[in-house]
């Protein structure tokens, strides 16, 4: 079996759920209380990903980066060498969708070959949704990225999203 290791960055504004998505995917856990990330936290998870007739053992090195703009400069250095990124927005805060353009632009400048996937998170809070699925679809089209409506809280589409990204990374 071929083994590969890929660096994946989690991008998006503060409190959109980047850390929670990683925690759900890696440990299958969720913490309701918001704990803001400063600097960087690297987690790893090994997944088996099909490529043609073979199965690739892919180690996803997930770089959970601080979302606050105070870390803008450092974030750019952390993006170096990334082969993939999950752009995360919060469906209850429409402004977090708009800022993904900037994150995507920076990623493509720093790591032009990186694969991008969009996670519109907190779909479990549909009653408070400020952004519609249609807006997410339009944003994903503009970023030329696949998208999923995810919930780190109940796990909806989280595994699917990372596995999709895994397939893109080994393709």
């Amino acid at each position: 079996m071929i083994s590969l290791s890929k660096k994946v960055c989690l991008l998006g504004d503060f409190a959109v759920g980047k850390t929670s998505l990683v925690r759900r995917f890696v440990y299958n856990l969720f913490e309701d209380k918001y704990f803001s990330t400063i600097g960087v936290k690297v987690s790893r998870k090994v997944v088996a990903v099909p490529r043609g007739d073979e199965i690739i053992e892919l180690t996803l090195m997930l770089w959970d980066l601080a979302g606050s703009e105070e870390f803008d400069d450092v974030r750019i250095s952390y993006m170096r060498g990334a082969t993939g990124a999950v752009a995360v927005c919060d469906l209850t805060r429409p402004e977090t969708l708009a800022s993904l353009h900037d994150y995507a632009q920076t990623l493509r400048r720093v790591s032009p070959q990186a694969q991008l996937i969009l996670a519109a998170n907190k779909v479990d809070l549909a009653d408070q949704a400020g952004a519609s699925a249609e807006q997410v679809r339009e944003l994903a089209a503009q970023l030329a990225a696949p998208y999923y409506l995810t919930s780190a809280k109940n796990g909806a589409q989280v595994e699917t999203l990372f596995r999709h990204l895994g397939r893109l990374l080994v393709a």
């Binding site: 290791s5 660096k7 503060f14 409190a15 918001y34 704990f35 803001s36 990330t37 400063i38 600097g39 960087v40 936290k41 690297v42 790893r44 090195m61 959970d64 601080a66 606050s68 105070e70 450092v74 250095s77 952390y78 993006m79 170096r80 060498g81 990334a82 805060r93 402004e95 400020g130």
Partner: protein, 395 residues
């Protein structure tokens, strides 16, 4: 310094270091035990990049250091899994060139400093800042919703004002006609009336007059609310105007045997006002004084130069039931009626005083009330004076 001194410094500063060869294979590990415990030995002989995942993507930078093209690489605030106390460990990683005695770069020195204390402080600061931002965003969202609701309320309020205005207009026209024909009937223009007929028609006329007053009040209120009430200002002899108002109200006051005393200085300056509207204010206040006082109770109307420069002060005082303390603040609100109105069997819509306040304020004056239950009430308002003698004929 003795080598143990170096270790003491590294322990105190919570610094550990890893030395690699040019292939980035670990050849030496030393420093703070708190950082190195459990895994330092297992590092020897392994590639640094495998052991420090945060260096992934920095291969070019590390090659730059080995080539003497880059002085150092720093990765600040690396989060590591929580310690036994539940706190996240924060590390700062620094990579420097390692040189031999001749200055040649033989590998890297990878420094690891435990900055958990600073990291925790910074995290708390960031946490509070982000929570404040979230609250601010939530407030902004709620403000937007409130603004939208407010716009809708304004639209509905304008619709209500338009409806009331049209209804009052449509009421006023036939009522004016009814009152006119009633007066003709009572004057005997259509033939003599017997006592019963006169009595009945008198009741009808009083009711029609009340309806007409309500229609006028509603029209005034909608004009005030929509900002369409305009004053026709002129220089007015207030004493003469007060006498006209008293004359108009004297049948009502006489019916209740309520004497009205007018007090005014000999030389009272004129005021700049709309005489019809000021007569309306004075009439309303005297009418209220009458309604809320028992028969035979005296009423006083006083005109004087105010303590406020450039204003005349008008006071209407009674010795009636007064206004309860808790209700005094609401007395000028539209449709508010004091609890004493039921006690005194006083008719009204609760619009008179709010209209009076709006009219006084339109003139640039102010209106206020002092009252004590069972002692009486005094309403006072001010109007801007003008320095010119009134025409002698009007005095």
């Amino acid at each position: 310094m003795h080598p143990t001194d170096d270790q003491a410094i590294l322990q105190d500063r919570k610094i550990a270091y890893v030395v690699t060869d040019r292939n980035l294979t670990v050849i030496e590990v030393s420093g703070a035990a708190s950082i190195l415990q459990n895994w330092s030995e297992s590092w020897l002989g392994h590639p640094l990049l495998e052991l420090v995942p945060e260096l992934m993507g920095s291969e070019q930078a590390l090659a730059g250091i080995l080539a003497d093209q880059l002085p150092r690489l720093q990765i600040p605030l690396v989060n590591r899994d929580p310690q036994t106390d539940g706190r996240t460990t924060y590390l700062t990683l620094v990579d420097l060139p390692r040189r031999d005695a001749t200055g040649q770069i033989t590998g890297l020195i990878h420094l690891i400093q435990d900055v958990t204390e600073i990291g925790c402080l910074e995290q708390r600061l960031m946490q509070q800042r982000n929570e404040l931002r979230l609250l601010q965003d939530e407030l902004n969202r709620q403000n937007l919703q409130l603004a939208a609701a407010n716009t809708e309320l304004r639209r509905l309020d304008e619709l209500k004002s338009a409806f009331v205005s049209i209804a009052a207009h449509e009421l006023r026209t036939p009522l004016t006609s009814i009152v006119g024909y009633l007066e003709m009937l009572l004057d005997g223009d259509a033939g003599a009336l017997n006592q019963k007929q006169t009595e009945y028609l008198g009741t009808v006329e009083a009711s029609a007059a009340r309806l007409l007053n309500i229609a006028h009040d509603l029209l005034d209120m909608t004009r005030i609310e929509t900002g369409h009430l305009e004053l026709v200002l002129e220089t007015v002899d207030l004493l003469a105007l007060a006498n006209e108002v008293i004359a108009e109200l004297s049948p009502q006051l006489d019916a209740r045997t309520q004497p009205l005393d007018l007090h005014a200085p000999a030389s009272l300056p004129c005021v700049l006002c709309d005489p019809l509207r000021v007569a309306q204010i004075m009439g309303n206040l005297i009418n209220n004084a009458s309604k809320y006082s028992p028969p035979g109770s005296p009423i006083s109307l006083k005109l004087a130069v105010s303590d406020e420069p450039e204003f005349i002060q008008v006071s209407v005082a009674d010795q009636g039931v007064g206004i309860p303390d808790l209700e005094r603040a609401k007395i000028f609100e539209p449709f508010f009626r004091a609890s004493t109105s039921a006690l005194m069997n006083a008719n009204g819509t609760g619009l008179g005083l709010s209209i009076a306040r709006a009219l006084v304020e339109l003139h640039g004056g102010r209106i206020w009330v002092d009252s004590a239950p069972d002692t009486g009430t005094i309403f006072q308002f001010t109007l801007p004076l003008v320095h010119c003698p009134p025409p002698p004929a009007e005095r």
